[in-house]
Point group: C2
Chain length 119, copies 2
Amino acid sequence: MKINEVSKITGLPISTLRFYERKNLIPDMFVRRDENNYRIYSDEIVDFLDDVKSLLSVGFSIEEISLLVNQQLDLSYEAKKKMVERKIEEMDEFQKRISKSKKFLQAVLDGKVDFQTKC
Amino acid sequence: MKINEVSKITGLPISTLRFYERKNLIPDMFVRRDENNYRIYSDEIVDFLDDVKSLLSVGFSIEEISLLVNQQLDLSYEAKKKMVERKIEEMDEFQKRISKSKKFLQAVLDGKVDFQTKC
DNA sequence: TATTGCTATAAACCTAGGTTTATAGTTCAT
DNA sequence: ATGAACTATAAACCTAGGTTTATAGCAATA
């Protein structure tokens, strides 16, 4: 697949795909170059980018994801394990904050919170 | 309370508290000025900022929160309701993406995903 | 009363995550 | 074989969410 097709399937702008690559977010196995230097992507890139989108949307940074998936950077298994475990804890915290936020929003909606009254 | 105390209790830097105010994120009821133009905060600001922190951390923008809590901006009840309902849906999506991300992370950790193999 | 500490504002600066622009080579359809 | 569409890179630009800096007034304590 060429970049335009990946862009259309994933919904990510072409500029973003190139940007992610510059940031070392795309492991080599997903992309090679043809004789004209055009990027040729393997089909698996689609699922990969889908996971990347999820991770980014829940607050991972590009650098963090890159550290986990990039061989070149060569993070040790123990380091990755620690990182993933910490991150999974963070995500549990996250779930709690979401529940809290939902309560707050519901209270605002129900008028149970008053931001009008002067103190 | 003066700004330094609020900062210490909430963990938010003084510069951030002033920044939030500039962004209309702090309803008037939580802050007034003394004779020297120093900010005097009511005790309730602490819980409020705690909710703000949660909302920000799960992806709300300052402007969105501001729209919900600020009287001056005077968003209609119906508009707020729609916004909150949409946001609660988004947060449900969010929970799903978190579950998905946890699975991905676990797979990376378990070596069930291979980013090494050349295609 | 002077030095240290807290407060204020405005404006410049910073970072992450992209997007846009400028320039140039490639390819496909007519 | 030529114009429209696609690809490439580098560099400038943009936005959100802050932080830092410069400058100045007020306060608390030796």
